[in-house]
Amino acid sequence: MTLAVDAIAWHQFFFVMFALLTCGFAVGVLFSGNIVRMAFYLVLSLASSAGLFFLAGAEFVGAMQLMIYVGGTLVLLIFGVMLTAQDRFISLKTPAGEWVLSLIIGGTLLALLLAAAFRYEGWQQAELGDTTPTSSQADTTARLGLSLVGVRPDKLDDSPRKAGMSGYLFPFIIVSVHLLVVLVGAAYMARAKKRTTTTAR
């Protein structure tokens, strides 16, 4: 019993910690004047939001977030920052009027969103959100993986239309097609150009 109480307390602690880190670094991204720091703050912010994913019982997504988003995508962006970072345009200030305008827009939206968020309280089904690592969560990860190759284990028995539920194989294929297009497009865009401006058709 005491063990369970301990677990709850730790959960609270981690949630508050990760939430504060995420939001704090996000504020840092917004108000920092230095682009190198900005990019680094974003890495930290997203890494701590991976912690929030773990706390919500989404281990697979949390791991993906850490490995692919933080480890891959953002490191790529930091490369971009470093490749273009020259003091000439490293810090660009924005006129105060634009700040006010955007803060009004962003603040209005935020107020709406927060008003919406504060209406709902508990998790509906606590069993899936059990915070202690159990076999059921490992199962969730396996299920996610299976559904990406086209099997929906949760829909296999209970539905008469089980044949219709084909998991997420097609979205998986389409995402790979996205990546192919991006590969071609990025290679074309970023390649060194010699004759391009002169070859008007």
């Binding site: 209406r119 086209g150 539905s159 239309r161 044949a163 084909s166 998991g167 097609f170 297009v181 497009g185």
Partner: protein
């Protein structure tokens, strides 16, 4: 069996397009001459066309993340035709060195559009719209490489990022309300549509307005609805005529189809706030588009504002579809699809003609570049005039019937004494009629320039048969549809009604009753 066979079978055209696009990307690197690649892009499109026509009018079928219904059929046919026309337009207009990238990207976009038109799952819908927009960034960039083109690409890319973030946030609330990514369920499998009426009663239903606003904002960027329209004139101006034609059509088809899927097919009829929102959006959009178009002198900017105005007309159809579900009629949806087809055909024809005309070795840009076109190139001028008149909605042409179906739907609801929103639709109908009158002014101005201004010393044109063919096909189509609009409407109409019904079993869709006909 991880994936069932019927899902694979109804995805054959999309699969063929994606595979051949991949082949184009990969094999194109090996061939330096690259003169026969347009043919390679045409073949899979023709194959897809045959498949789509063969599948036309099949009974409604729910197959996992996909749905097979009238909206899907119309959207698929329209996308394939768009692809074919774009190949014809770009045949000689793209630099040969870039042909495989351009045509590969085009095939991907067509596949993305076809997926969006069929999507019955939020994940699928999102990936489909992204498959439209990601190759679009590339195509925009491939057009030409100068400062204006770079600026157009930057603006489009960043606004599109913002749009997809807004759309995704809206989608997250839609998902949050219902707890499923399936849009319309079948059998025991409940979708968002089936759960929403119940959810609306509960506390969590308060999220629907928020989600709807965000989704409308995100997709509003794609269809250039008004608060989110400001990029369109700049981007169209900065790119080539061929790319502008593409931009005026592909994202708009994607946006309208996605709105159909996620709003019209899902939101319950009792939710009038959605319809009111769309009506306000429609009125503002058409008014801003038409009024701003009045003093444009750059042809692509003019067409950009025209496309904004047409987004407003399309939103009328969306509002009709949202509001008329309770009163039984559903011609709002089919009127919108009908109008979309006509808009796409006329726009492609117009941009084809603009690309055909040259001035001083460059593409036509200024309205004065078209001066005296009737004397130098009478057939092109006549066909461009047909497209313009159709866009303006002058009676014998197809555009008139499109506007008539939309407005008559609004008027019908306005006179429906029992309908709670009749006042709104009355205002909408009046605003639409006024806008049609304003719009005629600037379309007629283009015709006046072509017919009554003296030509420049030299008005050379490209000897591009592809473009000639495109303009000819589009204008002939507009005249033909204008002569017999009922045929196309009937092809779209009865099925659209079926799409709205929730089949308890998939077999039920087979003997769905025909919908009521549009009064003419």
């Amino acid at each position: 069996m991880p994936v069932d066979l019927e899902t694979i079978l109804i995805l054959v055209p999309e699969g063929a397009l994606i595979l051949s696009a991949t082949a184009l990307f990969v094999l194109g690197a090996a061939d330096r001459r690259r003169s026969w690649w347009p043919v390679c892009a045409t073949l899979p499109l023709l194959f897809a066309l045959v498949m789509v026509v063969r599948d036309w009018g099949r009974p409604v079928l729910y197959s996992g993340p996909l749905i097979q219904d009238a909206t899907g059929d119309t959207g698929r046919l329209l996308s394939v035709v768009l692809g074919l026309v774009m190949v014809l337009m770009a045949w000689r207009q793209t630099r040969r060195k870039l042909a495989t990238e351009f045509f590969g990207g085009l095939l991907m976009v067509v596949a993305g559009l076809m997926l969006v038109s069929r999507a019955n799952d939020l994940v699928f819908l999102f990936l489909g719209t992204e498959l439209v927009s990601i190759p679009t960034y590339m195509l925009l960039f491939l057009g030409k490489r100068n400062r204006a083109s770079s600026e157009a690409t930057v603006k489009y890319f960043f606004l599109s990022l913002l749009a997809s973030a807004l759309f995704l946030y809206g989608v997250s609330f839609v998902y949050g309300m219902s707890g499923t990514t399936l849009l319309v369920g079948s059998g025991d499998l409940l979708g968002i549509r089936d759960k929403l009426p119940e959810i609306m009663q509960s506390q969590i239903g308060g999220l629907l307005p928020l989600g709807l606003v965000l989704v409308l904002a995100g997709l509003g960027f794609k269809i250039t609805a008004v608060p989110f329209h400001f990029y369109a004139p700049d981007v169209y101006q900065g790119t080539t005529n061929v790319n502008a034609a593409f931009l005026a059509c592909a994202p708009k088809i994607a946006g309208i189809l996605a709105l159909t899927r996620i709003v019209v097919n899902v939101v319950p009829a009792e939710f009038y706030l959605g319809a009111k929102l769309v009506i306000v959006l429609a009125i503002v959009t058409m008014t801003v588009g038409n009024v701003c178009a009045l003093w444009q002198t750059h042809v692509r900017r003019l067409m950009a504002y025209s496309s904004i105005a047409h987004a407003g007309y399309l939103l009328i159809g969306l509002a009709l579809g949202l509001a008329s579900a309770s009163s039984g009629g559903l011609h709002g949806l089919s009127a919108m699809l009908f109008y979309l087809v006509l808009y796409v055909v006329a726009t492609l024809g117009t941009f084809g003609a603009f690309a055909y005309v040259r001035s001083r070795g460059e593409e036509a840009e200024h309205l004065d570049d078209l001066a005296g076109l009737s004397q130098t190139h009478a057939p092109i001028a006549a066909m461009l005039a047909v497209c313009m008149l159709s866009l303006a909605g002058i009676p014998p042409l197809a555009g008139f019937w499109g506007k008539l179906t939309l407005f008559s739907g609004a008027v019908e609801l306005a006179f429906d004494m029992t309908h709670p929103m009749r006042g709104w639709f009355a205002v909408l109908a009046v605003a639409g009629a006024l806008n049609a009158a304003i719009a005629a002014a600037y379309y007629l101005r283009v015709i006046l320039v072509m017919y009554f201004k003296p030509p420049h010393s030299d008005s050379p044109v490209t000897a591009d048969h592809g473009l000639q063919t495109v303009v000819a096909i589009c204008s002939v189509l507009l005249v033909l549809i204008g002569a017999d609009p009922g045929r196309l409407l009937d092809a779209i109409e009865p099925q659209a009604v079926r799409a709205r019904q929730v089949p308890v079993e998939p077999e039920l869709g087979m003997n769905a009753p025909d919908g009521e006909q549009i009064p003419e």
